[in-house]
Every structure is written in structure tokens, then in C-alpha cells.
Symmetry: C3
Subunit: 116 residues, 3 copies
Amino acid sequence: MAAITRIETGPRMSKAVIHGDTVYLAGIVADDPKQDVTGQTRQVLAEIDRLLALAGTDKSKLLRTNIWLADMSDFAAMNAVWDGWVIAGNTPARATVEASLATPDYRVEIMVVAAK
Amino acid sequence: MAAITRIETGPRMSKAVIHGDTVYLAGIVADDPKQDVTGQTRQVLAEIDRLLALAGTDKSKLLRTNIWLADMSDFAAMNAVWDGWVIAGNTPARATVEASLATPDYRVEIMVVAAK
Amino acid sequence: MAAITRIETGPRMSKAVIHGDTVYLAGIVADDPKQDVTGQTRQVLAEIDRLLALAGTDKSKLLRTNIWLADMSDFAAMNAVWDGWVIAGNTPARATVEASLATPDYRVEIMVVAAK
């Protein structure tokens, strides 16, 4: 069996779980949910960068991404930040749907799977 | 290629699919959707325990979890059951969003990926 | 580390990403969103067939599927197409929830993980 390594493990969830050479990140929301979707997306992607680094990988190895928007009218603003963040030629499989998140202030939540 | 083993395979979906040492479970809802979110969450997690056992693993090896709540106001009640079920130090990456489920009675659906 | 191969890679996402012997497809929506849910589901599944073939695999090796319906009242109509498409004995773990999609015309989006 491939080894399992957990990162920033709390009583409810881990921020990242490494299984063999696959890295599963938690759904990430902004630290400061008072920001607009642009600011929140930047915060989320910075946190994903941080967690991928802790897992020994980076955004060039993204495999799959799920994005939830509290309001689909934020799609273009979220994508503007996303498009500037991903690495050309290394983009993941992605799906984006609308969903209410843990509190009404959250505008975006992103959950990724990456290779290590 | 890693072997694929399917568990409780029906014409529409399988309850679990094992690929190499990764186990993918279906989205699980309560057998008795007349119960409240506490009862439904208990039923769902018991069914996940059962399916993980059939797949030759258990909740100590959870990798990733997606939770859908019909109403995010059930978040605390669902978490109270979840927090008592997961094993400290072995919690998965997790995301929870709101979504209407197959019928209005369903309050919670949980889909997990585990290691074998 | 297992190799990563990306298929139909754009600046925002890839249509498919192969990691070792796991294939992650993007969330697929219909090319022609003016069709009803039956037509859209057929289009989505045909596109999934096409992408799986490009990845060197097929629907007999589906592992996990997420389905989003814009309106859960389309559940039976989507399932009628799905049930005729999947291969008996080879059905994936699956979850279906309701979510608004990128534009109001889209009735269904499907994201699969398959073995190669």
C-alpha cells in the first residue's frame, strides 16, 4: 500500500492528504471573507500554493479542480484571477458550479487534486 | 494497469470501485430520509463504514470527502456527528457545500475516496 | 513520480489529464445548450467517450462520476440516457446533486475519473 501523509490535520479535516504520488487538498475558502470574489480567489489560490508546497509539489502538477461559486455572476471575475495563476500548458481538468458555501460571505471555494 | 474491482454494482452505479489501492465510494444518502440531519448523517457514515469494510479498508484511511447539505443551516448538526466519527489524526481533506439532493427529504450526501 | 499527460489543454483548463493510470476529465457540458436534458446528456456522454478514447481508455473503466443537474426534476430523463450508456457490470461510483451551471441553458454537467 502507498503511504498516507496528512498535512495540517485537525479534528474535522486535514488541509492536505498525500497518498502515494497523489495530493488531495481540502476545499479552500478565503481567510478574509469580507473581500470581493477577486480578493477571495487570490487568497484561496495563495493558500493552495502554500499547501501544495508543504506537500512537496506545485501548481504545475494540478490534475483536477472543483470550483464552487456562491453566485455564478462571479464567474468572469474568478476566472480572471484563475487564468493569471495557472501555468500555460499545465492546466487541470476543471468543473465550476454554483453552490451556497459554509457562510454567506464566502464567494468561492476551490478543491484541487495534484500530482506529487 | 492496476486492477479494478467493483462492489455492489448496479445498472446505474457501483457502491464502491477499487482501482489499485484507491477506493472510490458513491455519494451515500440515508436509507431512511424521514430522519433529521443527525440521524441521516449517522446512517450515511454507517453505510460508508460498511462499504469501506467490503473494500478491505476503513475510515482511518480516508483521503478526500465531499459533503452536500440540502440546507447549510444543518452544518453544525452534521459536523457534530462527523466529528465523533472520524479518527483523530486521520481526517481527510474535505469540502462541504449546499445542494439540493435527489429528493427533498434527503438532508445530507457524502462521497469519499479512501486508500486501501 | 507517475507521468502527467494533458489532453486538449487550454489556458484555463485541460479537457483530460492522465496521471499514471488514472484519467481525470473536466466537467463536460453540452455543445448545444439549446437542447433539452435528454439531448444535452447524449452530447455530454459522447464527448466523454471521445475524451476517454483520446486518453487511451473507455467507459468500461469508469471509476467515479459527479453529475450536476440544473434542476433535479431532470433526474429521470438524465438517468434514462445514462442507464443506456453505461456498461452493465462496469458502472462507476456516482453522485448527483443540483447546481446552477455556467449559463442557465446548461441542464447537466458530468465529470468523470477513469482508469487507463
